[in-house]
């Protein structure tokens, strides 16, 4: 048997395996209402209440002010993607039953572009992340999201169907897809990743959580859009850490002790963009030659995402955070440059007292 043939047969087995098991229920037989409807409709009924419509910053052309999310705890933790939409003090979440909540950004991991929100609620239907499954190519899946903001209020999220084309890494595509995410992804053969879909859930026909729909990604070579989901396994550690308090965007409260002499940006040789907005993203505007920042390779237009493990969402948040760092301690900055994440450790240069 020639090698390609073996490969074909291998694929046959892979493709057939997920088909064979749930075949009776998943056949979607035309005209066979009882079969076709029961499995998918039941799954949809069971999953839809876990999907959340999220409203935040944005709202102008190309920057929709909404995205999707999924409930991951009965007390109102919401898993979603970390995006500009969350960059506001006025985050709103609408549940499947139409109830509207103020949502709080509990934390986010910029490396995975994952965020966890919290609403004040109880006894909510939710996904258990530790029950998420990994699936093979060829697995038939459903994607649920509020793509295009089609649904409002108590209108249910949209449902699409497709199969997992392949599980692959986007790292090999660097320069083609503009994303800092370098882990594995499920590529889907459905048109899932539309505006507003990010944060939506991909589930098996039986309703088992598989992944989270990612942000829109355009292939810069051929101008097509990628439809993909991030496997839950890739996100779980980060989500647990966020829920445990890591990547907390909250400023330390006033009572926290401050060092006698705090770190200042000028000691690092960094000048930020003028702080003109309520939340100006902390972009580096200038780096002084010969400064610690220059030595660490920090460049203008780098965006500062993390100081240590603290999520930084604005120039002001960055300055506040530095207030709590002793000028003699080294700090690690996580930066975004051309959709690539960089970590740089800096030690302030102490000016000789005259």
């Amino acid at each position: 048997m020639t090698p390609p043939m073996i490969r074909s047969l291998l694929w046959l087995v892979l493709l057939a395996a997920p088909l064979a098991l749930p075949a009776a229920a998943d056949s979607g037989a035309p005209g066979n209402r009882a079969l076709g409807r029961s499995s998918i409709a039941e799954t949809i009924t069971q999953v839809q209440p876990k999907i959340v419509k999220i409203y935040g910053a944005g709202g102008f052309r190309g920057m929709e002010g909404y995205q999707s999310g999924m409930l991951i705890s009965p007390e109102g933790h919401i898993l979603t993607v970390y995006s500009y939409v969350l960059d506001t003090d006025y985050l709103k979440a609408t549940l499947d039953d139409g109830r509207k909540f103020d949502a709080k950004l509990l934390g986010a991991d910029p490396k995975l572009e994952v965020a966890v929100l919290k609403i004040d609620a109880a006894d909510l239907p939710c996904f258990a992340l530790d029950e998420a499954v990994e699936v093979e190519s060829g697995t038939r899946v459903l994607a649920l999201s509020n793509l295009f903001g089609v649904a409002t209020g108590n209108e249910p999220a949209s449902v699409q169907h497709g199969i997992v084309s392949v599980k692959t890494s986007l790292a090999a595509r660097r320069g083609v897809f503009e994303t800092p995410y370098s882990g594995s992804t499920y590529v889907l053969d459905a048109m899932t990743n539309n505006p507003g879909a990010a944060g939506g859930a991909v589930v098996t026909r039986r309703g088992k959580l598989v992944g989270m729909l990612g942000k829109e990604l355009r292939n810069s070579l051929n101008n097509t859009w990628l439809n993909y989901a991030v496997p839950i396994a890739e996100l779980r550690t980060s989500v647990d850490e966020i829920r445990a308090g890591r990547f907390d965007p909250e400023r330390r409260d006033a009572s926290t002790a401050r060092p006698q002499r705090s770190l200042q940006l000028s000691m690092l040789g960094i000048v930020l963009l003028p702080d003109v907005l309520q939340r100006t993203p902390p972009y580096v505007d200038q780096v002084y030659p010969g400064s610690p920042a220059a030595a660490a390779g920090i460049r203008p237009d780098d965006l500062i995402l993390l100081v240590g493990e603290r999520l930084i969402q604005s120039c002001k948040a960055l300055r506040d955070e530095l207030e709590h760092i002793d000028y003699e301690d080294p700090i690690t900055l996580t930066l975004l440059r051309d959709q690539e994440l960089l970590e740089r450790t800096l030690q302030a240069k102490i000016e000789e007292e005259p």
Binding site: A17, A20, A23, S27, P30, R33, E155, V166, N194, P195
Partner: protein, 639 residues
């Protein structure tokens, strides 16, 4: 990429269940596809094979433009989008899977709902789709679209795309200024330019909607996995109006609603001229249900309104101070007449999808779709290479070509087309008006009975009554008194008897229609089909205009009986309603035994007819309204 190619190849292999011939038997895995899957696939193939026969590719006579459609009756009536037929004109060419190109003519259009009814010629046994009940469509149902996306099929064999229902009862804000998609079905089956107007079938191949719109934003006008179909139940409501050859209007309640602070849907604004106001609805009342559907959101309210034509009466329930009120409300037109005509003739930029051109040689570097100007956010590629051009539209500027000179209208189309202002094709109005008229007169011909009509009997409650009707007016007599009404040019000035809303003028117009017929009555047109309170099926309606008064004559579509007369002496007031029933045959004519008269929320009276006399005008002595006593002749006798 390699992995994907291998996968694709493997998928094809798996799909055809081909096993390499030289594989040793021992190494061949047993067939791994469950027989249930194979059965389901075979069934799907059979369903699609049947469904394809009713699907149309639609073109203008010159071959430009195009879209899809679906035949819904053996005599060739077919549905498509308004935005498909609009650039094509009044005559169309329709290709079917049998490879034939049929002539077709426009029948009626609903510009707001983006629906058009057309009629094909050349057969009396067209394969046609079965209409489903789209209210039973549920999210997750399998469905498939058929049509001619990108006008790929030159032999008219439709393209099938398969998907699931992604959402139901979706509301989509008007695109441009006109096309509002209410209560539509959302699907992830691929819908592309050229699919417009084509059918969305359920898994059994029954028609659940007409595909017409997608959520197209920055990705260009190609499928993005989100498309909307106008529900067939909405179209069913409009079908009678579309058969009337009209430019059909949608409806409004004259009410704006919104959420109040506790999340109820309440009246935020109400037009005092609206029927809803006359039925008691007021500012701040909570809307409980409309059209029999529970209302929980303003979008849900708009969804319900969007599925009804102007003039329908639908149930409304509202709540004030804990008290619930139920009423039947008449829906107003969404547009003023002029406004609707202007919009129907509007610019193509309001159209939701561009129409591809079939005979355009595709640019080898280009997508086969419609060519659009590049999006402003697409900069030149950094390395200077040419991007594959996925067309991206500029907002509000779908590219439409100027219509080229169309060939002369085919003879068969010419015979079935009649232009008239306010109508898409007046020919079909006349056709249906005459159908209704014939069915009624077959039940009793009154054309010679142009003299005095005398109707006598007992009011429910055993008081005797008598009506006398003649060309000059009418008289209504009870033992305790009488009311007279003289027909003048100021027809609606006196609405005798008092509190009836104009019972004598209404009976006068009924007699006038029966005697003169639709040609001489005034302007009589076929209105469409309407619901009637306490009746399951809709009924046929003729609308007559006489001396500025509008009257509706509602007929049983099966029996042909006149079921009701409604006379609107002026706009925005309650009509006098007469409901006729208990028809029985007297001397070769069917006559009603019961006449119920209503005005607004009130019952004026129930008249049990016992004796009806219809006289011929002898010419010499013109009968006038005169004193009358109880007739002694046999019931329904005529002179």
């Amino acid at each position: 990429m390699k992995r994907l190619v291998v996968l694709a190849a493997a998928t094809l292999l798996a799909g055809s269940r081909a096993v390499p011939a030289d594989t040793p038997t021992t190494a061949t895995p047993p067939p791994l596809v469950d027989s249930a899957v194979l059965r389901a696939q075979a069934e799907r193939i059979a369903v699609m094979d049947r469904a394809k026969d009713s699907v149309l590719g639609i073109f203008s006579p010159s071959g430009s433009g195009g879209g899809s459609g679906v035949v819904i009756s053996a005599d060739g009536y077919a549905l498509t989008n308004f935005h498909v037929v609009k650039p094509c004109g009044d005559a169309l060419k329709c290709g079917m899977a049998d490879g034939e190109l049929y002539d077709a003519v426009i029948v009626g259009v609903d510009p707001t709902g983006d629906v058009a009814l057309i009629k094909l010629f050349g057969r009396d046994d067209f394969p046609h789709a079965e209409l489903a009940d789209s209210d039973h469509v549920a999210v997750g149902d399998w469905c498939f679209a058929m049509g001619n996306p990108f006008l790929l099929a030159t032999d008219f064999w439709p393209t099938a795309t398969y998907g699931i229902v992604s959402g139901v009862h979706r509301y989509q804000y008007p695109s441009g200024t006109l096309l509002e998609y209410c209560d539509c079905i959302q699907t992830d089956a691929s819908i592309n330019p050229g699919n417009s107007g084509g059918p969305l079938f359920d898994a059994a191949g029954r028609l659940i909607g007409i595909n017409g719109r997608g959520s197209f934003e920055k990705r260009g006008r190609v499928n993005v996995g989100v498309a909307y179909a106008i529900s067939i139940n909405q179209i069913r409501n409009f079908l009678g109006y579309l058969h009337s050859g009209r430019i059909v209007d949608h409806a409004t309640l004259g009410v704006q609603v919104g959420f109040d602070e506790v999340g109820r849907v309440v009246v935020e604004n109400i037009l005092e001229q609206s029927d809803a106001y006359r039925r008691g609805l007021r500012y701040d009342d909570e809307i409980v249900s409309l059209g029999g559907r529970r209302i929980t959101t303003p979008n849900g309210f708009k969804n319900v309104l969007g599925i009804y034509p102007k003039g329908w009466r639908i149930p409304l329930s509202f709540r004030r101070g804990g008290q619930r009120y139920d009423a039947m409300v008449r829906l107003r037109g969404l547009h003023a007449v002029e406004e609707l005509l202007e919009k129907a003739a509007g610019r193509p930029r309001d159209l939701p999808m561009p129409i591809p051109e079939p005979d355009k040689e595709p640019d080898p570097d280009d997508e086969p779709g419609p060519r659009e100007p590049p999006s402003p956010d697409e900069g030149p590629h950094p390395d200077g290479s040419r991007k594959i051009d996925i067309p991206t539209p500029l907002p509000g500027q779908p590219q439409m070509r100027a219509p080229r000179t169309e060939p002369p209208m085919a003879e068969i189309v010419k015979q079935h087309f009649e232009a008239r202002r306010g109508f898409a094709n007046y020919y079909f109005n006349r056709l249906n008006r005459d159908r209704v008229w014939k069915a009624w007169t077959a039940r009793g011909d009154f054309s010679a009975m142009d003299g005095l009509w005398t109707l006598a009997g007992e009011l429910e409650g055993s008081e005797a009554f008598q009506f006398e009707l003649a060309d000059t007016g009418g008289r209504f007599a009870l033992p305790g008194g009488e009311a007279k009404w003289i027909a003048t040019d100021d027809f609606g000035a006196s609405l005798a008897p008092p509190q009836s809303g104009g019972l004598l003028p209404a009976l006068y117009l009924w007699r006038r229609l029966a005697v003169t017929g639709p040609e001489q009555f005034g302007d009589v047109t076929y209105l469409g089909t309407l619901p009637l309170p306490a009746r399951q099926e809709t009924v046929d309606a003729l609308v007559g205009l006489y001396k500025g008064v509008e009257c509706h004559f509602l007929f049983d579509p099966v029996e042909g009986h006149l079921l009701a007369v409604e006379v609107f002496p002026e706009e925005d007031v309650d009509p006098c309603e007469i409901y006729f029933s208990e028809y029985h045959q007297v001397d070769g004519r069917f006559l009603p035994g019961r006449m119920e008269v209503r005005l607004g929320d009130d019952l004026y009276g129930v008249f049990l007819l016992q004796q009806c006399r219809f006289k011929e005008d002898t010419g010499s002595q013109k009968e006038a309204v005169k004193e009358g006593g109880r007739e002694s002749e046999n019931d329904g006798g005529t002179d």
